[in-house]
């Protein structure tokens, strides 16, 4: 009894289509965001995160349509990230049916955006995404998929974002992302201990035990993964069963 640790599948969406090859065995159109979201909903995902990786801003309206379609069919929380620059971008996504938006680069360019958005829409729908990379004995915030450093300390940045009204932090280890070696547990623990808002661990999940460790050792409040779910290696339900066996409270 009590609050369950959330398991969140993340989908990359490019011009309205899910990319990075989602391979559900019995799904007719694996690129259709609505079909994929519905499948995760059936598997008891606790939330779904869409990351809009569309390069051209003119194609961003497509994401609005995607959110609108998904929100009419899937009744669990939806987070949308990618390319959010202004209050108006957030407003449009929320109106289309997103429950939260995830802000990354724009928060670094203009931290006031986070304060303003939180004041305007409420902390509950403002997620700040932090891409962190180890530099010596601390972690620095990176942008552009880990290619560009900002020189900002990730721990300090997360405290600053919480202070400005972020409702939670989506923390990705750029060292681990795509490696399948597991979360950077030290990073996760450092950030989770530093802030009193929920932290979502991301980057590096290759096994179900990695998810459990993110919570048990890393102190994450939620875990996010993409490829282990997309390629049909594991279902969300299997992940929850494993975590439950490891003594973690889940929504099964």
């Amino acid at each position: 009894m009590g609050l369950a640790t959330r398991i969140i599948p993340c989908l990359d969406v490019d011009e309205g289509r899910v990319v990075k090859g989602v391979k559900f065995v019995d799904i007719r159109d694996a690129g259709d965001p609505v079909a994929v979201a519905k499948r995760y909903d059936q598997q008891m995902a606790d939330e779904i995160t869409f990351l809009d990786i569309t390069a051209s801003s003119s194609a961003r309206d497509t994401m609005i349509d995607v959110v609108r379609e998904v929100a009419a069919e899937v009744f669990i929380p939806l987070t949308v990230g990618g390319g959010i620059r202004e209050i108006d971008d957030i407003h449009r996504l929320l109106l289309a049916g997103a429950d939260k938006v995830s802000i990354n680069t724009a928060a670094i360019d203009r931290p006031d955006l986070v304060s303003e958005a939180s004041q305007y829409f409420g902390a509950q729908c403002i997620v700040v995404a932090i891409d962190a990379k180890r530099c010596g004995n601390h972690w620095e915030v990176f942008t552009h998929g880990g290619r560009k450093t900002t020189g900002i300390d990730a721990r300090e940045w997360s405290v600053e974002m919480a202070r400005r009204g972020a409702g939670e932090i989506l923390l990705t280890s750029m060292d681990r992302d795509g490696t399948k070696d597991g979360f950077d547990l030290e990073l996760t623990r450092t950030i989770s201990d530093a802030v009193s808002i929920p932290v979502i661990a991301s980057g590096g999940v290759g096994t179900l035990e990695h998810l459990a460790q993110g919570v048990l050792t890393g102190g994450a409040d939620a875990v996010l993964a993409a490829s282990i779910f997309h390629f049909g290696e594991y279902t969300i339900r299997e992940a929850k069963t494993h975590m439950s066996q490891r003594g973690i409270e889940v929504n099964l």
Partner: protein
């Protein structure tokens, strides 16, 4: 045909509430509006809410809806959600203290980020938590005891009248997750984001005649 009005106070994701009603009651007429005439014509009213309670009441007053909503609260089946539930109590600690409608005895307080609590209590309380039903209200029909619903809030209600408590949940301590009296049913969680059990609750609300 049912006419359901979701009161539009300009905050939060109201459309997901409307979409969820459209899903469970395809024949119903669902409107997101702050229009007084439509509110009067509705046979069921939803009071949603996200964000801060102070701006919630401010938005209510700006639209001159305080009295019409009070009148609805004494006459039609009403479903309060999140801040829409908190607003029904005497007062809230949020925004430096804010008076509520005072229809339910109790206070709304902030979850405590206590330093001695290990592990630390994260605020907002965000995610799926158990809801322990404490009454046989028609709105709970077909929903199992302790079913999980999706919560996201930093303030919680403490009711002083236990007869109005329809459910409790636990986050660093017990708090009120649903209240009910006569034609009012209100929940702290978000049924519109709570998967099948949430849709079931909304369906029950559509079928409910306002008698507990």
């Amino acid at each position: 045909m049912h006419r359901i009005v979701v009161v539009d106070l300009g905050t939060g994701n109201l459309h997901s509430v409307a979409k969820a009603f459209e899903k469970v009651a395809p024949s119903a007429h669902v409107e997101v509006t702050s229009d007084l005439l439509r509110l009067e014509k509705a046979d069921r009213v939803v009071l949603p809410g996200q964000g801060a309670i102070g701006s919630w009441f401010k938005a209510l007053d700006e639209r001159q809806l305080r009295n019409p909503v009070l009148s609805v609260l004494s006459s039609k089946p009403v479903l309060g959600i999140c801040v829409g539930m908190q607003a029904l109590f005497n007062r809230s600690e949020e925004d430096g203290g804010c008076e509520g409608f005072g229809l339910f005895d109790g206070e709304v307080r902030r979850f405590c980020r206590s330093v001695d609590r290990k592990p630390q209590l994260k605020v907002p309380h965000m995610g799926w938590n158990n809801v322990r039903q404490s009454s046989n209200h028609p709105i709970w029909r077909g929903i199992s005891q302790d079913a999980r619903f999706y919560f996201v809030h930093s303030y919680y209600a403490l009711a002083t009248q236990s007869s109005s408590v329809a459910a409790t949940s636990d986050y660093g301590g017990k708090f009120v997750s649903a209240i009910a009296r006569a034609n009012i049913f209100a929940v702290q969680f978000h049924p519109e984001k709570s998967h099948e059990q949430g849709l079931k609750l909304l369906e029950n609300f559509v079928c409910w005649d306002g008698d507990s």
